[in-house]
């Protein structure tokens, strides 16, 4: 009996030690008058130096601590944020000289968060560092197109002239590729060893990671959270009403949802939950928070490998498009919140048009007629065969483990079986799929994945014949279907060099129409950007535009 009591008390003591901990809990605060926001993100920024940051999560934070030259609002409209005006052809601030161009900029006077002024010299330093072969900056697309930048009123001035080697349609959207970084902080690391500039503490250590934005970095607990604090009396933004913004990094999206439900976080950014979870969260919200669904820029589609003779015939591709009930698919899977797409550009893109598009509504009879016209007749097993007796059996690949794509595959398989096409599903882990299969055009017939488009995306390299990856060009280019069309080449090349926006959009409109006729890839749907926030948080919306996130207007947020 004594032994029993002894063990029982031991057990009880053990349990009590770990359950009754005398501590306070985070009490819910009333929304109005609050001056803090806690945002949940499933990703953690890798680095806060814009030159080396690779993750979308970093861009969302960088928006708060740096000023953009030109920014987009949530309706995709451009406005000058860090500069006095957007250069344009009419007033001569954007001059064309044959193939070359010159853009004249004037930056709005402002300071780094340590009080030193932002000057032309900061822009020159950053551009030169990005141009240096030894600096491990990844993207140098614009940097390589710029021949030089000149401080017209001295290094400490705010007047900048940028000379471009070649025509580039979007040259007036940013002064240089990486804007300005504080030269007075970074130069010593750059001089010491340019190839290790990415290993300098700038971008990691809050003490020296200074920016010119409405907020400054004050704390970064790696793997856990990051906090920025409002800069008082900012020359461009005044004093923001939200004093502190904290991002908490919660990699498991279910746990992220639980955090939202528990009230531990005030908002979930667009780099947070999946579409499915947002729908679920919306059902559970019950007035405690608002879930945002905004049409985004991520385009889900299926590439056809045009080297495969079966799908090289446009009638077969059109039959496949008619044979899949995409409208019902998006209704069933997404409640219609992610609409069917009809060409390669998202509908919100300025180059998109719905005029003159060839669309492929669900029509199995039309699909069967097209296949018959292409010489296919039904075989004994219900699968169609061509004149050579080859079965119309196609392999469909996508990323393994992506539940939504796997559901889409099953619907396609079922739909196409009814018109006599056999679909064999073969999925790969993302690393293998994007590292070996799609980019080397090793998919035998159809490959499903998404392109992340931006408001400046066009079809150069994506659907031009020089963008077909092959051994010779080091597998560069994104034309994975292997689409070759002289008219498409002409339109895409011209659009990427056309500086007149109206003319450019006209060229893109034509490319969108041509694409829908030839369908080298079958458009599926446009993914929605999803976010959530407590109803009291004003000014927060789901924005996700490669480079612009919900934080674009952070200095105007407030609690009500």
């Amino acid at each position: 009996m004594r032994a029993r009591r002894q063990w029982s008390s031991l057990l009880l003591a053990a349990l009590l030690t770990f359950t009754v901990v005398p501590l306070q809990t985070a009490q819910a605060q009333p929304a109005a008058g609050r001056d803090q926001v806690v945002i949940g993100m499933s990703q953690e920024p890798d680095f806060l130096n814009p030159m080396f940051a690779e993750m979308a999560a970093a861009v969302a934070v960088l928006d708060t601590i740096f000023v953009s030259d030109i920014e987009r609002d949530n309706t995709w409209k451009l406005f000058a944020q860090g500069v006095e005006a957007i250069p344009n052809l009419k007033d001569g601030t954007w001059k064309l000289d044959g193939d070359r161009m010159t853009l004249v900029w004037k930056i709005k006077p402002r300071n780094w968060s340590d009080g030193r002024p932002v000057t032309c010299a900061d822009f020159v330093f950053t551009h030169n560092a990005a141009r240096n072969e030894q600096v491990p900056v990844i993207v140098r697309d614009l940097t390589n197109r710029i021949s030089n930048i000149v401080c017209t009123k001295g290094a400490s001035g705010t007047d900048i002239t940028v000379n471009w080697k070649e025509r580039y349609a979007y040259a007036n959207l940013t002064i240089t590729e990486y804007g300005a970084l504080p030269r007075h902080v970074l130069e010593k690391y750059y001089r010491a060893n340019p190839s290790k500039l990415n290993e300098s503490p700038y971008g990691n250590d809050p003490a020296i990671t200074i920016g010119d934005g409405a907020y400054k970095l004050v704390e970064w607990r790696k793997g856990a959270s990051m906090t920025v604090e409002a800069v008082s009396n900012h020359k461009l933004f005044g004093t923001p009403r939200i004093k502190r913004i904290t991002w908490r990094f919660i990699p498991d999206t279910n746990a992220l949802v639980a955090n939202m439900l528990s009230g531990a976080i005030d908002a979930i950014g667009t780099i947070g939950v999946t579409f499915d979870q947002a729908v679920q969260l919306d059902r559970q919200a019950a007035g405690r928070f608002k879930v945002f669904f905004e049409e985004g820029l991520i385009w889900e589609h299926i590439d056809f490998n045009l080297d495969n003779p079966l799908v090289a015939d446009v009638r077969v591709r059109r039959a496949i498009a008619h044979g899949i009930n995409r409208e019902q698919m998006v209704q069933q899977l997404f409640g219609g919140k992610q609409p069917v797409s009809h060409s390669y550009l998202p509908t919100k893109h300025p180059g998109y048009t719905s005029q003159g598009l060839t669309t492929y509504p669900y029509d199995p009879a039309r699909a069967r007629a097209l296949l018959q016209e292409a010489g296919f007749t039904p075989g004994p097993d219900g699968v169609l065969r061509n004149a050579q007796g080859q079965r119309l059996s196609l392999e469909l690949n996508t990323t393994a483990g992506n539940r939504v794509r796997e559901q889409v595959e099953q619907i396609i398989q079922q739909n196409l079986r009814e018109v006599g096409i056999e679909i064999r599903i073969q999925n790969y882990p993302a690393r293998v799929y994007f590292g070996e299969i799609t980019n080397r055009r090793k998919f035998p017939a159809m490959a499903m994945y998404a392109w992340v488009m931006s408001p400046t995306s066009d079809c150069d390299q994506l659907y031009t014949s020089d963008g077909i990856p092959n051994e010779g060009n080091g597998w560069a280019g994104q034309n994975y279907p292997g689409y070759k069309n002289a008219e498409m080449d002409r339109l895409c090349k011209a659009a990427s060099r056309e500086v007149d926006e109206a003319k450019r959009n006209q060229l893109l409109n034509q490319s969108v129409q041509l694409f829908s006729r030839d369908i080298p890839a079958l458009p599926l749907y446009i993914r929605a950007s999803v976010a959530a926030a407590k109803p009291g948080l004003q000014g927060f919306t789901a924005v996700q535009l490669s480079g612009t996130y919900e934080t674009w207007n952070v200095h105007r947020w407030f609690w009500q």
Partner: protein, 331 residues
């Protein structure tokens, strides 16, 4: 014994080298080179950029040269710079291992504190109500998927918490994940805050090993109390407590000690699933994230560190076994 330990230590060198070669080769030869993948993910990246980056990072050299260079640096204590986390891997590992130890060590002691008494009690009162209860509990403990249990605990203690309606119990509302409240000052408030964040993940983590340890203790105790020397002790007229504590328990714990010693290296490896569910920045998550993210520098360092720990603690387990059990002798 000393010669045995020395021999084992020397044997570790070729084994560690073998592991390092295998690990380096597997990670390097895995499809989808991280720098090549940049091209696929961003149309603005050109082949020249990939060539330039490979040159800067030394990835353009043949694999055996890269291995030798890596080995040379690693032996000197330079574990490299993580491309994903933009931090020296030594810093990264120091922080992450520290975080993991908070969690794993707590869970480990919590598990032992519950499992050993429960296991002993179950064995002493075999087929009693509490024994059935403990056996059922261990059955659940080994079968419940940890991610599901984690989410349920978050839901119960952080989201739903129905008991808060009862006055005074609102203290039992726990944070749903993370490691600390941002902005908490250092010192005592920091540790108290950290403790609150640790409760859910450490209980979840402890449950798994708790079940295993309970089963080990129970079966080993059952075996021992049927031994002749226990009967002898009883017939000598010793008090039941002395019989259990002195004669049975000590012998019954020998297999458990081995299991425990072997699991110590696991404490440093963290717990990837629990850490992910509870947003705990530990070494387990670091390993998984760096492998998925193609950050081989970090992955190699973590894997190598864990491999060496496993080797060392295997030796510790073997030596500890010999010290505890006089029947075992190594020469």
């Amino acid at each position: 014994m000393q010669r045995y330990i020395l021999r084992r230590l020397l044997q570790m060198i070729p084994i560690a080298l073998g592991i390092s070669i295998l690990m380096f080769a597997l990670l390097t030869l895995a499809p989808g080179d991280p720098v090549d993948l940049l091209i696929a993910s961003d149309p603005r990246v050109k082949p020249q950029d990939v060539a330039r980056l490979k040159r800067i990072y030394g990835l353009d050299q043949p694999i055996h040269i890269r291995y030798v260079k890596w080995l040379g640096r690693t032996v000197r204590g330079d574990l490299g710079f993580s491309r994903t986390y933009k931090e020296p891997v030594t810093h990264l590992m120091r922080d992450r291992i520290g975080n993991s130890l908070w969690l794993t060590v707590t869970a480990f002691f919590l598990a032992l504190l519950v499992a050993v008494p429960v296991g002993i009690y179950s064995a002493l009162r075999q087929y009693s109500f509490l024994d059935y209860l403990a056996t059922t509990f261990t059955f659940f403990g080994v079968s419940i998927p940890v991610f599901w249990f984690g989410i349920m605990m978050i839901y119960l203690f952080a989201v739903w918490h129905p008991w808060t309606a009862i006055g005074g119990l609102s203290r039992l509302v726990l944070p749903p994940g993370g490691i600390s409240t941002p902005g908490v000052p250092n010192g005592l408030p920091f540790y108290l805050d950290r403790l609150r964040y640790m409760i859910l993940p450490s209980v979840v983590l402890a449950l798994l090993s708790m079940a295993t340890y309970t089963r080990y203790t129970r079966s080993s105790m059952l075996e021992v109390i049927r031994q002749d020397y226990v009967r002898t002790a009883r017939s000598k007229g010793l008090a039941e407590r002395t019989v259990i504590n002195k004669h049975a328990l000590r012998n019954a714990l020998i297999p458990l000690v081995t299991i425990v010693a072997l699991s110590i290296s696991g404490l440093f490896a963290g717990a990837p699933i629990t850490e992910t569910v509870f947003a705990w920045p530990g070494v387990g998550r670091l390993l998984v994230d760096s492998v998925i993210g193609g950050d081989y520098v970090a992955a190699q360092a973590v894997l190598m560190f864990l491999a060496v720990l496993v080797l060392v603690f295997n030796l510790v387990a073997d030596v500890g076994y010999a010290l505890l059990d006089p029947r075992i002798r190594y020469d």
